[in-house]
Subunit: 453 residues, 2 copies
């Protein structure tokens, strides 16, 4: 049976939503129980509950400018009675609760300071005469300091109203929000010091194969070093998941079956293996799970065609093919989007349209995913950037993968494309091999920036 990419994406999503025999504690955590973390520790985590603002922001009317607070009765209906001279009252720094204004006097007030009672407007310091604050020495030398207002003062000007950013009781952040600097800064501004977050989605990662040996060991003839565990572990960590690394397992189905059974009740959300699911004579995952609920199938995708999906002891199970590029493409196409849907993290990839720098052809019956180097458009008038393919379609080309910054999509039915034809590319964070990508426009530090205004 050959599945389409879309069908398998739905199957993986369904698997991660699968609940009947899921560990109860995991489900609760995913649904919103969670733990409470200090703000900085919650970076990259997902909010477990709707959070209401316990205070208004701003918490009180405050001044937007350094200037003078003017009494409401010293302003005409439309500010027309201004232009007058007022006595200067005591300065109002930020951080104090000032006394009410007295008619006929204006109080020097600093940005962010609480507006005194009876204030009609704030007049910025540069609009009054003298256009700078009196010094402490001035106050000591002269008991009757005065200030001249401009001809017009708009009533209510330069007052930031309490609650104008968010009123107390309103939802500050919704459950499921990914907590980045702005969200955590908002919580701090609300006075919240710790935040309930969802439990991280926890993946047990297991690489199989007689031919695989640990990095750092002495190279053996016929063997290769295990790239998949590091590749998928770091990709999962980037995606906000927690990862438990299993030791490498060789091609012994009995031992693998025992190992998988042993981990299935440890409260993890997903077992993820690489290798051993294809059409060869020694496919250890396939052999170990031959009489189980796990399904072995082909997806019309290149690389990453062989896939396995099911449950082991009630725990969701995915098997990815063993070539590193196949494993990463499988992660990007199937697991990462499903994690976004069920766990709220990571954010989806940014999708751009790019013009091919060269012709390309792909098998019409498959969705081919190539590695590429995206260059932003060179000028504001050009609608899209361009993409150059990096390496061939081979699923073993991990150096080419490390030198790419996008995945290039050639969906089923594409066949041959000419230079200049448009394709969809996914920006893949952490896959940028060089620091010259996407330097902000209008930016003099840019080495190879897009140059748009």
């Amino acid at each position: 049976m050959i599945r389409s990419v879309e069908e398998h994406q739905q199957a993986v999503l369904g698997l991660l939503r699968y609940s009947s025999s899921y560990p109860a504690d995991s489900r609760t955590d995913l649904d919103g129980g969670g733990t409470e973390l200090p703000l900085a520790a919650a970076r990259g985590r997902v909010l477990a509950v709707d959070l209401q603002a316990p205070v208004s922001l701003p918490p009180f009317d405050n001044s937007q400018m350094d200037g003078y607070a003017v009494h409401v009765d010293d302003l005409g209906p439309a500010g027309g009675t201004s232009g007058r001279t007022l006595r200067v009252g005591a300065p109002i720094p930020a951080g104090i609760e000032p006394p009410d204004l007295v008619q006929g006097s204006a109080a020097p007030i600093m940005t962010g300071a609480m507006i005194p009672g009876n204030t009609g407007a704030i007049v910025p310091i540069e609009r009054v005469t003298p256009a700078q604050f009196y010094s402490a020495a001035d106050y000591e030398a002269d008991a009757e300091l005065t200030v001249d207002l401009p001809d017009t003062v708009e009533p209510g000007a330069y007052i930031r109203r309490a609650g104008s950013d968010i009123p107390a009781g309103a939802t500050a952040l919704a459950a499921g929000t990914l907590l980045g600097p702005a969200q955590l800064g908002l919580l701090a501004a609300c006075g919240i010091a710790a935040v309930p977050v969802r439990r991280q989605f926890t993946v047990l990662l297991l690489t199989t194969g007689d031919e695989v040996q640990e990095p750092g060991s002495t190279p053996q003839p016929g063997k290769i070093f295990d790239a998949n565990t590091t590749l998928l572990e770091t990709a999962l960590l980037d995606a906000g998941a927690a990862v438990i690394r299993h030791r490498l397992m060789d091609d012994n189905p009995t031992l693998l079956r025992e190992a998988l059974a042993a981990v299935a009740d440890s409260g993890i959300h997903l077992i993820l293996t690489t290798g051993g699911i294809s059409q060869g004579a020694y496919e250890v995952v396939k052999q170990a799970l031959a009489n189980s609920s796990v399904e072995f199938l082909s997806v019309a995708m290149q690389p990453g065609g062989p896939q396995a999906l099911g449950t082991i002891g009630g725990v969701p199970f995915l098997g990815f093919p063993g070539n590193p590029v196949s494993a990463l493409v499988s992660f990007e196409m199937f697991l990462r989007p499903a994690l976004t849907a069920v766990a709220g993290v990571p954010h989806p990839r940014v999708v751009l349209t790019a013009a091919l720098e060269e012709e390309v052809s792909s098998p019409e019956a498959k969705h081919q995913v190539r590695r590429g180097w995206y260059t932003p458009r060179a000028a504001a008038g050009e609608p899209v950037g361009t993409v150059r393919l990096v390496g061939g379609p081979g699923s073993h080309l991990i150096h080419a993968l490390a030198e790419s910054n996008v995945l290039v999509h050639l969906p089923t039915g594409t066949g041959s494309l000419a230079a200049g034809d448009l394709v969809s590319v996914w920006l893949v964070d952490g896959m940028h091999g060089a620091p010259s990508f996407g330097i902000p426009a209008a930016h003099p530090l840019a080495v190879a920036g897009p140059g748009n205004p």
Copy 2:
């Protein structure tokens, strides 16, 4: 003196490159000394040195397919002598060093297995007869198993050549490379278990102001909770920097001066303060550093106009304004790009062109940075996505900041723009407030995807 955004960007870059009185150990580390970390721990760090591949990838000629290895002398010059029947030799699983092929026989070989000597080509299992491998029982039952080749076999087909991804001795990754999953996976594939990384750029973060109180404490009249420390700490962590939080400091210049002097020789790369650098009567940073090399200036930017820059005891110093949005915009416009340039991390923001969903105006003499919500283009035919402004230009609107996913640039001279006019937006990771942004196209999980093919 009013500086342009570009001038201040250059000044900040120059400051971070400043070296004469920089702590010697920090310089060494930044230039490539660094420490060695296990691969997974090096995620998000920057490679300190050029790394050569200690082995070729692939390390040996290996099979791209499950199939049969055929002797070079059993193939004609152009594969024309195939179609013959060959004896079946011993299977070659991945992970072993196989014996040389004998003419007249073909060896079952698995994907990734080492190619035996004398091999002319690999023929995929589905192209031979029988089109599946013999079982162990077949081997036991029949001593003379045979396989029929197809009519044509391309010489050299389906052999992945040693070094075709990268030859031993070639540069696998260049110094300065940001280490993500693909780069770390590549190192693992090369057998490398630990990697030398640059020391993290270390920032001492200090928020000032009588009006500021710690989140979690009881709200006091006239005071606000400190959002800046959390906002900038997490933004700096996202940017790959290390952060030392200083306790809040009130508006006492003497105490602040003493505190800054005390930290200046602690091996940090940058002192960053917020607040106290504007035109008010109580500007603690300005007062504390009045007779120092630190310069207080205005940048033609909104928000984030007031800026301070210099050194304290030889350590680079930046002062950002105290409003949270001003502080974050200052970080994005000045510090983050300079960190990319000097530390190799983070990657620059992705810049997109977007059509305004509404009219907007900005002060012509300033580069205004607004917060917005970017929506990818709805159909493949549309060249760009759209952007809706979130909140007004006010620098205190941190809830609006938390609900935005882009910074919208209205450069100097922009003035008024109409709905549909194009603007540059920066995608700001960690600022996405909702999970519906940028869901990959051609993706059935998409809630609000762009829909391009």
